[in-house]
Structure formats: C-alpha cells, structure tokens
Symmetry: C2
Subunit: 340 residues, 2 copies
DNA sequence: CTGAAAGCGCTTACAG
DNA sequence: CTGAAAGCGCTTACAG
C-alpha cells in the first residue's frame, strides 16, 4: 500500500536560501539559455545555481510558471477514437514531439460526433491548453471556422480542411498509387470502400484513385464507390453493398483503411471468394497487422508517427505566429499477396 | 490562419467586481456543494454568483487552483505502447473515468523498457501529477517498490504485481476457460504462445490454462509453452518454434493475445494448415478484429474499458488514503470458427 | 454572512 | 550583477 507521504518537491526558494541569494536570481539563471547566463548573473553564481539544482533534483513547477506567464505548455489533441490504431500512432507522434518541446499533451475521444467534438474542445479550453490538434475534422463541420473566429490556436492532423493548417498523408497520391498498381495488374473492374464522406482521408483517397483510374482509360461503374465506416464492420458492409448492386463483378477492391480492408476480406471469403486469387484487395495505412494477416494485405504505407510530429511542429508555428503551410507527407505502396 | 487574439478567460475577480462582492465569497460559493451554500454565503448571494458564473461561462483555472491546494488534478498513465489496442482501450477508460472525477489524464509510452519506464515516471512527477497508473508493470521490476518507498501514489492496470493495488482481467480464469473449451472439443495435444514472461497477463493466462488442463487429465508437452511477444510477429515466431520442437503436432494453439493469435494463424497457414479445420486457435482480449477476421477468431473477452475505469477508481481511493483491494474483472469466452 | 490577507511557485520589469 | 516587489488565479483559515 502507498504511504502517500511524498516529500515536498524542491522549489526555487529552497535553492535560493541554500545559496544565500535571491530567488529571482535563481530563476534568471535557470532561464538563461547560454551556459554563461549573460545578464542574468555572474558566471560563478550561475555555476553554483546549476550545480545545486542538479544535486537537489530541482524541477520547475509547470503550473506555477504557467500561471505567471499565461501559457500552460499544455497541448490538447482530439481524435475520433484512440482505439483506432491510426490515431493512436499519430498521437504517439504528438506525444513525443510535444515532450521534446517541453509541452505536455492531452488526448480525448470525440467518436466523430459533432456534439462531443464541441464538448471535448471546451473541456480542453477550460484546462487552458495553449493550442489544439484535431484529428477528427469534418469537411462539413462548423467547429473549426468558429474556433478560428474565436482566435483559438489549432491545427489539424490526419484529415485536412480547406483554409486551416494540417498535417496529413498525401491521400490523393495514395489513391493514385493504388490505381496504377491495379491497372498494371490487369484489373479493369474495380470497386472502392470509400470511408466516411465527411472525412478528407476517405474523400481524397477515393478521388485520387478514381481520377487516376479514369486517366488510365478505366471506367468506374456507378455503385462501385460505396461510402462506409473505416472499421471492419464498415468494410464488410461496403462489400456486401457492392456485390449486391454492381452490374459487373469487380476483380479488385480498394478499401481506404486497413481495418475496412480486413472486413472486406471477411465478407469476400464468406461469399466463397479467395482473396489474392479470385479477387484483389488493397488497404490503406499499412498497419502492422496488414503484413501479418493469413493472406498478407497490400496497403498504402502512410507515415502516421511523422504526421503526429508534423502536427506539433505546425502548432508550434501557429503559437509563435509564424506563417504555416499545410504538410502532406508522401505515402508508398506495399504490394503483398492480397493483390500480388 | 489563426488570429491568436483569444479573449482573456473570465476570472473569479471578474465575477466578484461585477457583483460588488469579495472574490473570496465567490470562491466559497463555487466550492460549496449544496445548492444553498451553507456557511459560504447567503442563499441570495449564492444564487447571484452561480447565475453570473453561468452567464459569463466562468471556468476555474485548474493550474491556479492546484498551485494553492497542492494538488494538480492530473493523473499520469504509462503504458507499453498506445498503439497496442488493448492499452488504447484501457486508456480510453482511464480518460473517461478521470474526466468524470474532474481529473485530467496524461499518457506516455514506455515500450516495456525499464529505462523508459523510469524516465517517463520522472517526467510525470516533474509535472506534479497527483498519482500514476502503470499499465506496464514487470514482474521482476524494481520501479514499483521504489516508488512505493518514496510514497508516490500509484496503481497498476492491465498487469498485476504482488503487494500493489491493480485493476486487471481475471487472467487465470481466462486461461481456464480456454482449457475447458479445447478439452471439451476433444483436443489432447495443445501448445501455448505464452507472451512475455515478465508480464502477469501472459504468466497468469498460461498458468490458468496449464493448471486446468492438467486438472482435466491432460498433458502439456515440454516445449509446448513458448514465451514470445504479444504482437503478430511474436505469435508467428512462437508457432514456428512450436512446430519445430514439438514431439507431437498440437491440434490446438492458445495465444494469450489476439495479435499474437493473428500471427500464429499466418504462420500456420504458410505451413499449409487451415485454421479451424486442421488446427484450432484461440486468442485473448476479443479485440474488434477477432470477430471480423477472414477466419473468425475465438477469443477470451476481457473488459478493457472497465479495467481502465477501475484503475482510476482505485487510484482515487489511494489518493484519499482509503483501503484498496485489487480488482479482477471477469472475462468470458467467445467461440468462433477458428476453434468451433 | 462576508471581507481581507496571506500564500502556493514562479517570472519579470524595475531599481540600484 | 543582484535584490525586491508585484502579480498570475485561486483557496482558506481568520476576523468581525
């Protein structure tokens, strides 16, 4: 059982009294970047302060500093759900990059529900975060323009939205890579499990694919593009719909998310089709399971960790009032047995 | 682009001056639980304070309050990796339960590395968290006893450790459920992909299985229990080892984690075996993909979200210096095609 | 019932 | 180069 008799952390005052100097001098030294502490204190004083701080394991009290400076060094991230591996990976990137900049990051789930997005945003603001990162932007949403009007610093990751800085995968390119690959493999009848129509990821991957496909001279049957959830259930439903409504059976399915692809594979198998032989399937994100599935899944590798880190860098610029350009990181295609 | 001209949040002083009363009175009212504000202010004053607070959308400044009270209302959680769905789900539970108690939760990854566990713990403590939740306890680790000696309030989740309060799945029971099921299905030669030997999850699931199996009159071949990673790679490696070293071919494999089970399925398939016909596979945690795999995976359902919530409740008790008993939540077995 | 003061730990202009 | 003061927003014993 815990004793809960934590010893009181060392403060600036402790350091000052032990050194026989004023707390403000300690603070100045600890904040001077240069080892020599130009203007903050004499080289000798600075040395003694730093030495004692190290010896006593002094750590600044971030809340106290924040109270004084008006900044909390807190970043808030809102994602559809953390149990979605794609967002979890991106958030790992956010966490790492934030820690490097001496920020702390929070994360909350919105479940892609507009009410929850608002609610969670207000909670984050009540906690006085310095800025926000949204992984759940809706193309038809009203929250982002509103926050912008209120002057709240934020950036987007994962999904983009016109007019706001975002760190995303180049999803259009990702879709194009899949079109090139399937065309080259000789497929001419294809279908798309396109994801949610409110998410730029689904929209961009799909439009990249469709436009390139047409550019190559291919046709997309009406009813061959089905909007659906990004999860396994969404993928299997999309395939059911495609199989029921398509006039011509597709020989390949592009699912804009690996989990949807896994759901699609399940649905195809229960129709008696062998993926990789009777029908090709390609997913998106190249999550670790893709390569390890019983039938390894071809997938577009997106740099999820890097997207999270890029989002933090972008937010840093916004907070510093520097100019920002959205970042689109390049994906590449991993071809495996499911479409080999 | 963001304007970054956020309007200053409303403070207690703002409320007080608008009402012509003293800030301390406002604070007292806002902290009195009862609507009538017994002892804090007159019913009329209390009413006016609450009304204005609502109207101006006053939110307390948690850092300022914490500075005064000595508590930050911050909880730190450390997990092996957030991109492990099991931990991500548990952390969702942590986040939700913490928010309900007006706590904010942080999470960091330790990658199951003892150095990182220490480092991340110290970062959390430097941020003055009120308490910690560890999802990455090692059975042979030295960190927990050390933190206990230092009087730092913490609890464990996911993995247990003797002598410390934990919220876990009843992993022994989970292993027993699998043994009963496979025995009943007529299997007599079994193997186990047992997970990491430093994690109570793997150890308990395995010992629950093995002990029950022997109790039923079964034998476990030497070399039929293989320690391995919890991920897909670990599962496929474990199966490779089992197939190479087992004297008798098993007819069933119990993998203590769904991702390991997926890896196992892949390895079995590349040996030409059809899971569910030639060989049974059972996983653990019943993650959402289990049911949606091309060959649906039998799995022990563990209440991941509830484990996270229970950990927060446990930590709350520790912080209140109430007595705590470890919580072991009951799992159940979902039988599917992979072992049907 | 309500005001006034002190102080949590830190930072930052301001003197000297 | 260094000290002293003020103040961030809040809470809490203490008076009256």
């Amino acid at each position: 059982m815990n004793e809960s008799s934590r010893r009181r952390p060392v403060t600036i005052k402790d350091l000052a009294s032990q050194l026989g100097i004023h707390p403000s001098t300690v603070s100045r030294v600890l904040h001077s970047e240069a080892e020599v502490a130009r203007g903050a204190a004499s080289a000798e004083t600075a040395r003694r302060v730093r030495e004692l701080a190290r010896k006593l394991e002094y750590y600044p009290h971030p809340q106290a500093a924040g109270l004084r400076t008006g900044r909390t060094s807190l970043l808030g991230a809102i994602v559809p759900r953390l149990s979605d591996l794609v967002l979890a990976m991106m958030y790992e990137g956010v966490e790492e990059a934030a820690a490097e900049l001496n920020y702390s990051a929070f994360v909350m789930n919105s479940r892609d529900d507009p009410g929850e997005q608002r609610r969670k945003t207000e909670i984050m603001l009540a906690r006085r975060v310095d800025g926000l990162i949204f992984g759940d932007a809706h193309l038809d949403g009203t929250l982002m323009p509103e926050l912008d009007r209120r002057g709240i610093p934020f950036v987007l990751m994962n999904r983009r939205l016109d007019g706001f800085p975002s760190a995303t995968c180049d999803d259009i390119l990702g879709g194009e890579l899949v079109a090139d690959h399937l065309w080259e493999k000789g497929h001419r009848q294809v279908a798309v499990a396109a994801g949610e129509a409110y998410a730029s990821t689904g929209v961009d991957r799909t439009s990249g694919f469709v436009n390139r496909w047409r550019g190559l001279g291919g046709d997309i049957e009406p009813g061959a593009v089905v909007w659906s959830g990004f999860d396994t259930a969404g993928g299997s439903q999309a395939v059911e719909t495609i199989l029921q409504t398509a006039r011509v059976m597709p020989t390949a399915v592009f699912a804009v998310n690996d989990f949807a692809a896994i759901g699609a594979m399940g649905a195809l198998r229960s129709r008696g089709l062998t993926v990789g032989q009777d029908i090709a399937v390609v997913g998106f994100n190249d999550t670790p399971i893709a390569a390890q599935l019983p039938i390894p899944l071809s997938s577009v590798r997106s740099p999820m960790l890097e997207i999270g880190k890029a989002a933090v860098q972008l937010l840093r610029k916004v907070l510093n009032r520097e100019s920002t350009d959205s970042v689109r990181l390049k994906p590449d295609l991993q071809v495996r047995e499911s479409s080999g």
